[in-house]
C-alpha cells in the first residue's frame, strides 16, 4: 500500500475527528467563549431543551430497534443461508440487550429507593436471580443440544 493511498484513506477519519473536535469545543465553551457562542449562533446550534432531548431519545430508541433487527437478520442469514458460524456481531447485540436490561434494573432501583410502604427487593438479589435463571436456561439448552447430538 502506497503512501498516497494511506493518506487518502486517512482523510475521512481526519475530517471526522476534526468535526467531532469542533463539536466538542462548541459544546464545552459555548457559554464561556464569545467566539464559540458566535459560531453556535451562526450554525444554529442551541442547547438541547426538554423537547429536543425527548426527540433525541425517541430517535435513539428507533435506531437501537433497527440495529437490533438488522443484527438478528444478519445472524439468521449467516447461520441458515450461508452456513457460516454465528457472527461476532451477535455479541454486540447481546451486549446491547444486556446493558439495556441491567441499566433498566439499576435505574428503576435507584428511583424507588426510600419507598416507605414497600421495601424494594435488593438489586443484588435481583441480579443473583437473573444469573441463576439464565444459568438454568443455558444448562437446559446445553442438555437439549447434547441430547440431540447424541441421538
Amino acid at each position: 500500500m502506497g503512501a498516497k493511498t494511506i493518506v487518502l484513506m486517512a482523510l475521512p477519519f481526519l475530517v471526522l475527528a476534526g468535526a467531532v473536535g469542533f463539536a466538542c469545543w462548541l459544546g464545552k465553551s459555548r457559554g464561556a467563549s464569545p467566539r464559540a457562542s458566535a459560531w453556535a449562533e451562526r450554525l444554529g446550534v442551541g442547547q438541547a431543551d426538554e423537547m429536543e432531548r425527548q426527540i433525541q431519545y425517541r430517535a435513539v430508541s428507533i435506531a437501537y430497534a433497527v440495529v437490533q433487527a438488522l443484527l438478528v437478520g444478519i445472524g439468521f442469514y449467516e447461520v441458515f443461508v450461508r452456513d457460516a458460524p454465528l457472527p461476532l456481531s451477535h455479541l454486540a447485540l447481546l451486549a446491547g440487550v444486556l446493558t439495556q436490561s441491567l441499566a433498566t434494573l439499576a435505574l428503576r432501583h435507584r428511583s424507588t429507593v426510600g419507598d416507605e410502604e414497600y421495601k424494594p427487593y435488593p438489586l443484588w438479589k435481583t441480579l443473583l436471580w437473573i444469573g441463576v435463571v439464565s444459568g438454568a436456561v443455558a444448562l437446559f439448552g446445553m442438555l437439549c443440544a447434547i441430547g440431540v447430538l447424541a441421538w
Binding site: G46, D49, E50, M51, E52, Q54
Partner: protein
C-alpha cells in the same frame, strides 16, 4: 393534554421567539406546545404558569 398558551401569549403581545427566550426553550418547543404536539414537563408547565401569572390548571387541561 390541551392548552391555551397561544391565546395567552397573543393577548400579551409576545412573539413565539420572545416567549421561548423567557421560558429558556427553543421556538420549536413553543410551536409544538401551542399545537398540542408536545406535553411539557411539570417544571416547564409551572414556568409557563408563572409567566402568565395564572394557575397551571387554567392553562393546561387534561383530556379524558
Amino acid at each position: 393534554m390541551r392548552n391555551n398558551i397561544k391565546e395567552l401569549r397573543k393577548a400579551r403581545g409576545l412573539r413565539q421567539e420572545d416567549f421561548a427566550k423567557l421560558l429558556g426553550v427553543s421556538r420549536q418547543t413553543v410551536v409544538a406546545m401551542e399545537n398540542n404536539k408536545y406535553d411539557p414537563t411539570l417544571a416547564l408547565a409551572m414556568k409557563v404558569a408563572r409567566l402568565f401569572e395564572r394557575p397551571v390548571e387554567s392553562i393546561f387541561t387534561l383530556e379524558e
